[in-house]
């Protein structure tokens, strides 16, 4: 994987090349970059070659392999994003970045599974954010590298084709497993829940979390035909008796809270693909970065932005996402 955290001058040189790039940088520098075949989003958290870092001055660039052919870049709002899977080229992929906490983010998270041709072609990307100390004043942004246009509300999507005889695949690394606790089902889909069915019996979910002293650093985990899909806790509002999440819970899906993970780095290393040579892009979750105290620590040789949400076909939480490109 050709990816690196670099200073602004080096980033300008790299992006002046003829390649196709994914860019991540803080709000302070991302709009100083030259035009080219790239999309970018704001974030100052990275897993770099030196380990986890918070950096508001440098730029993280992933250069996609030469087997990738640039097709187009477009912004999508909460309406037009519904065609995101349909517009991905056959034998191609879509790369996407969505600014956090926007209607586009929330709509994609809840509705992607109902979009036409959902998951029929690879869609990979992340949710743009900001330094956590600046979230009240700085809005997450995405940028169209072709034009320099910035958006605080729309997603940016880059469609790519693959050269003949090449394929791409999407993988996830989720260090969490369903624990042995209660089965939780939600009567409604959404980013908030007041009510929950605990082993089939309805309770107020905020009361349940408080009463059972739930460690909200551990996500809810659903089993999607063998894929472990997390929903992370955001906040417990005891007064309003509501629980909020960083991704939606879905009606009809059974969740259990994750069991404890004693050794994050060890667990992560064990779960990584044995051969990382074909990994073309990767991102990991800021909750993993924070809760596992990854600043200054290396998880592997795989690097990338640390994000406010990950996308592998749909929105994910507390999960590393990676894209592999190989030759048939």
């Amino acid at each position: 994987m050709q990816s690196k955290l670099m200073n602004l001058e080096e980033a300008k040189k790299v992006l002046s090349g003829s390649g196709v790039y994914m860019v991540a940088a803080d709000n302070k520098v991302i709009n100083q970059l030259p035009k080219g075949n790239w999309i970018g989003g704001t974030i100052p958290y990275f897993m770099a070659s030196e380990g986890g870092v918070i950096d508001q001055n440098r730029v993280f660039i992933t250069e996609l392999p030469s087997s990738v052919q640039f097709k187009d870049i477009r912004f999508c709002d909460e309406g037009s994003i519904a065609s995101v899977y349909q517009k991905i080229p056959q034998n191609g992929l879509g790369m996407i970045i969505i600014p956090a906490l926007t209607s586009t983010h929330l709509s994609f998270a809840v509705n992607a599974r109902n979009y036409k041709e959902f998951a029929q072609r690879p869609l990979v990307g992340w949710i743009a954010g900001a330094h956590l100390n600046e979230l009240s004043t700085v809005k997450p942004k995405v940028i169209n590298g072709l034009t320099g246009e910035v958006s605080e509300s729309k997603a940016i999507v880059m469609n790519l084709a693959l050269a003949a005889n090449y394929y791409c695949d999407v993988g996830i690394v989720n260090i969490f497993d369903q624990g042995s606790g209660d089965t939780l089902e939600f009567p409604e889909s959404g980013f908030e829940a007041s009510h929950v069915l605990v082993n089939g019996k309805q309770e107020n979910f905020a009361d349940y979390v408080v009463k059972n002293k739930i460690n909200i650093k551990l996500p809810l985990v659903a089993d999607y035909a063998g894929a472990k899909i997390n929903v992370s806790f955001q906040n417990i509002d005891e007064k309003a008796r509501k629980v909020s999440f960083y991704a939606p819970v879905f009606q009809g899906v059974s969740y259990r809270q994750a069991g404890n993970v004693a050794d994050y780095i060890g667990r992560f290393s064990n779960e990584l693909p044995k051969d990382s040579s074909q990994i073309a892009f990767s991102c990991n979750c800021i909750l993993n970065f924070l809760y596992s105290e990854l600043e200054g620590k290396k998880t592997s040789t795989i690097t990338g932005p640390i994000t406010f949400g990950e996308i592998a076909y749909q929105l994910l939480n507390q999960t590393m996402v990676y894209l592999t490109i190989g030759k048939s």
């Binding site: 034998n91 998951a119 029929q120 993988g171 999607y224 035909a225 592998a312």
Partner: protein, 74 residues
């Protein structure tokens, strides 16, 4: 190995949860996470959802993970 015909009952068996297969291809797993709930809530959708699952395999046959999964479709 060739894909089972689009009208093969194996596709509806998978989307209805009657048949469990340990798939590798992430897209199939994520698709089934939603598809099985749709079919559980409305069994009349099984045939249409099964066709979507078939299309997912058909469009991605060049992937090694899909080729391994096709071998499990017996």
């Amino acid at each position: 190995m060739a894909l089972p015909n689009v009208n093969s009952p194996i596709w509806t068996d998978i989307v209805s949860g009657k048949k469990e297969v340990g798939f590798e291809f992430l897209a199939v797993k994520i698709f089934l996470g939603t598809a099985r709930i749709q079919v559980k809530n409305d069994p009349g959708k099984a045939a249409a959802v099964a066709k979507e699952l078939y299309a997912l395999f058909e469009k991605n046959q060049s992937l090694p993970s899909v080729q391994k999964d096709v071998l499990k479709l017996k």
